[in-house]
Symmetry: C3
Subunit: 473 residues, 3 copies
């Protein structure tokens, strides 16, 4: 892929311009550049690999599913409708994919200095072999070139999966999901390793949209009539077991706050029964979520599934957008998050147990050095997930490393997650992460903090070793 990317991408991109650092960074990066991609947490729709149909067009592939992209365009007054995002009420949205793409091209300058810009440059250049810069002028020409390629076998989902050297790709799935796509992939002749991740928010959060219906679906899926808290627990254990049989190695918990607290059996039963009868209060829901995190840790010790906590996002902050277009439209906003006191109950009960792996994420960078690195640098069960969402950028990843490593080392971190729903951005994101880590380590070598042979081991661990170990892959 080297020669075709020359016109846009520099081989030493993102490395420190100081020659003493750059030379080392380049060497470290080269040693991991071609390693397989391990993607233990993300949101790619597995159906695309079942059907393996050509992607419709560049707009449907790149713009429509990516809230990183339309968030930024929207912030500059470009309506979501004009980007082809369809309102829930069936009102019309722009249907001309080329017109949307052109508008995107004209506004591509907005992404200067952002990771989205960096990922897209990679996708254009390396994934699609485009030899010119993407601008308003070249947009349609590039559209046509990508369109044409998308119709060829090489650009079908499975081919790309193989070409991207993805060793394993985890999706994220509701506890009630039947995992039909996963079944079909496992039943097919194709060897792509796609695994589910158990995300029970829809049933553990008493305030989740359609919670009552989700509970009914949970009963249906498990054959266990969920009429009590104890049956609820039984049903969850049943589903975890099913997910595990389908290849799952982890669970994921998207919570407002990482608050943990253990109810007595009686308290849990009482609140659960109340919720079955009428909508839960926010207080009950928050307490119940805190309790369910404890339960999930307990179950993880039993069944070995790695537990992930993703807290701190105020989902659907913009009600206008949420009501018109639904969730995941770029208006989730981070909130200040507290871990030291909130995780205390869970860590005190289960954090000393080496059978548990608890991977904690944050959207609040102030907690890196203050709370998360000290916790991960002490409790055997706890590891730190990589810098997440708004922070999986060049500077964001660098801040993560420089604020975490001195207290927790690299060995209490869990490698890289791309966490994306944009399939073709996966190699771009892993490449960026490897470059940033190579550069981070090169700085340590150039400053004589670690030796080169140590850095060579570390870069392998940061690219592959740690993620394999943390997720038991």
């Amino acid at each position: 892929m080297k020669s075709i990317s020359r016109l846009v991408l520099n081989e030493d991109r993102f490395f420190d311009p100081t020659p003493a650092v750059k030379t080392i960074a380049r060497k470290l990066y080269q040693s991991v550049k071609n390693l397989p991609i391990i993607s233990p947490h993300g949101h790619v729709d597995p159906t695309i690999f079942v059907e393996n149909k050509p992607f419709t067009n560049p707009t449907e592939l790149i713009i429509i599913p990516d809230h990183y992209i339309f968030r930024m365009l929207y912030s500059q007054g470009i309506s979501l409708e004009s980007l082809g995002i369809r309102p829930l009420d069936g009102s019309s949205a722009e249907a001309n994919a080329r017109k949307i793409w052109k508008l995107f091209g004209q506004n591509y300058y907005l992404f200067r200095g952002t990771p989205t810009g960096v990922w897209l440059d990679y996708e254009f250049s390396v994934v699609f072999g485009i030899k010119k810069r993407f601008t308003g002028e070249t947009a349609l020409e590039i559209y046509d070139e990508i369109s044409e390629k998308l119709q060829t076998p090489k650009f079908r989902p499975r081919s790309l999966f193989d070409r991207f050297k993805i060793a394993v790709l985890s999706t994220t799935d509701a506890a009630t999901d039947a995992l039909e796509a996963h079944k079909k992939i496992r039943g097919s002749e194709w060897k792509g390793n796609i695994i589910p991740c158990f995300r029970p928010d829809g049933v553990t959060d008493l305030k989740a949209k359609s919670w009552r219906a989700n509970i009914d679906l949970l009963s249906e899926r498990t054959g266990i009539e969920v009429t009590s808290y104890s049956r609820f627990i039984q049903a969850l254990e049943n589903r975890r077991s099913f997910f595990k049989s389908m290849g799952a190695v982890s669970t994921d918990h998207g919570v407002s706050s990482p608050y943990t607290h253990e109810f007595t059996q009686g308290e849990a039963e009482r609140i659960f029964q109340k919720a079955l009868k009428s909508p839960a209060t926010s207080e009950d829901a928050a307490m119940f979520t805190g309790h369910m995190l404890m339960e999930m840790a307990r179950m993880s010790i039993d069944d070995g599934l790695v537990m992930q906590i993703h807290p701190g996002s105020d989902r659907n902050h913009n009600r206008v957008i949420f009501e018109r277009f639904g969730s995941d439209k770029g208006s989730d906003i981070p909130m200040q998050t507290e871990y030291t006191r909130n995780l205390k109950a869970l860590l005190n009960k289960y954090g000393n147990d080496p059978r548990l792996t608890l991977i904690v994420f944050t959207l609040d960078e102030a907690t890196y050095s203050r709370e998360l690195a000290p916790l991960a640098g002490h409790y055997p069960a706890m590891k730190l997930g990589p810098s997440w969402w708004f922070h999986d950028s060049i500077e964001g990843m660098m801040r993560f490393r420089s604020m975490v490593t001195e207290t927790a080392g690299i060995y209490n971190t869990a490698g890289f997650n791309d966490d994306t729903r944009a399939f073709v951005s996966i190699p771009a994101r892993h490449d960026l992460s490897r470059r940033v880590d190579a550069n981070f380590l090169a700085t340590l070598v150039a400053k004589h903090i670690v030796h080169m042979d140590e850095a060579e081991e570390m870069i392998y661990d940061m690219a592959n070793g740690l993620v394999k170990k943390a997720y038991k892959l």
Copy 2:
């Protein structure tokens, strides 16, 4: 101005010492170095341009109005009286300007590594053409040299304004201000573009000093007897209209917290009536301020004035200093600030409206990447003001750019504000900002994150384009 500054100021100052970066930074900086200064938010006293009298002496010009300077000296045990700051009770203060200046010179080492030091070096060298370093030994010599120049026509306020190439300078004015100075400037033959900014804190904050008297003055200024909430709103609309007729393009709101919340008409009326009768409680005042921010956004949509929020300062933290010397004496201390939840009501109601421009500032750098960049990177109405007050320094501006750009880009920021009451520091502050931005962009170019032609467009936008657009200038 080049040759005279050689002895103290290096042409490449503040740029990254890595040659690959420095060369690019120098080039980018050169391209904006001589652009006009646009100063959309500040606190210079407009009277100086009405009178256009020579500045009295260096001490009155540089030390007395600048709490950045005497704050630092005070922290080292130097009394405000000895710096010529006069107590409110009429007690004496040092009156010998040369003696004060000498004391300042002897303690100038305290400003090493601070932006105040950097600005002062620029003022001495570039504004006043001093060819030696400022120290305790040279202080009086330099005093005399500046004094002499201040008596010449070239150093009168209007001449400096022109020489600084200030295209527009906004002052900050109480809602009840008659804008006499502005009227006189507009009525004069002088073409300096000095505009007011509508800052209604004195009437919207029910706990403001002299609130009741301010309300009476508001009645007097508008001819609307403010006996009810609805008349209060009417009077504010009247004043905004007057400010606009005087050239204002913006409003400004200095609040403890960016909390927003909408009262019913009845609630607003009830609390306002209560306040008219007896001093408001802190709770009522906080709620009312939150409501008034909503009202101000509504009015901005009507009249087009850009809305600024400056939250998070605990004003007059040191009561001893406040009671002896009054406000703005260097003891305002930042507090932790929350935006995601506090701005929710306002952004949900008005944030999707492209007619509104809401420029938000912070003194809490932890909110840059966590809250402010995500909000500005989504809501069309919201832009981020530059790093403010304690943070408009080299490292502070660099942190702003590196924590904001990856999420919000540069195009959701509002360019630079000097926010100063120290008139002669204006060119120093803009020069520093341009240098830091040039260096920031040079790093992006040297790391191959943006192309040089992109950086050339960006540096222009950061110096002039964005501020013009954000403030509709």
Copy 3:
């Protein structure tokens, strides 16, 4: 010591690899490299200097007392027992020092990129003259080499103290401590300057372990029967006076929160009496601690002892570890900390008094630029302690300087503290601090922010001048 350290330690370690910076950093560092060590705050056991016996073995010297080391090993699933940490209940722990050391060596890679790794490399190389890298393979060989040296006179505590050029070493001692070791040192022919620091947490925190017994001990030590609040105050004044007579220059206060508040005499008496009778509530204890900080400031103005506040650690977060092994076992976790409002009462009452020196520390880096630098850059009494505990690392110290200096300058900081209980790490920690400061200043020089002659003065102050002034040494 130069030649023997060549194999492992680079002379330019930790400096910026950019030649323009490195050259300056090296020069600045050389100018302070051999200055005496001033250690005004730490936790070395003074008994070792009384007895002056050879240290038992490398494991007892380096691993057992250092929670930085076993914290990290524990986080990776290595039991404390296997590291020789003895449970309180008398259960067995590994007793074979060589076996423990071997385990440590095998896991030494965990410390890559951490300050502990950097300090240990220094200790091995410079203190013990080891000429090979420490790894699992070389561990036992190195053990033997250190063991042998520990038996020689050159490696006895007093000899090392002298060889380390420690000009003054402060211990940290309970208010009720009889300071027997200090008495013996002062009464001996040895000239090592070891002084106590008055830390009254055990009697001022009503929830402290054994508080009631501590009060009885306080009565015994002072001959003042502490049956009332006023006698409590009298007893504390008495102890402070005794500590001062033993060379103490400071007090230290380890509090959850820096909350300050002044009780009336009556309120203080009432709460104190309540606590004498039955265990205090958390609320009473928190309020009383806030009041006692005020009292301590008042006493400091009287007796001249420098007051230190170390807030923000959630001590013994891991109850399992605490109950099995006791305190200081690596499970203290930082919490978010607020200073602006919490210190207001104290600073308003005493912060303008130049007779008080209040040195404030933090574990919450978000407060550096937001609260601490603005406070220290205004109040004459307040100075900032260096980056502390989890943050006295290369990046941690750099963040401290870059977030504090622009607002508070370097002259409102208090130099470096090693704050260690690991005696042989003292020169390593001071060397690291001097290198980081030299590098910080070199960057300022290379960017033309300060002149070289200024940096030369500053590096001296950062290594020796500021700490001497702040602690009145």
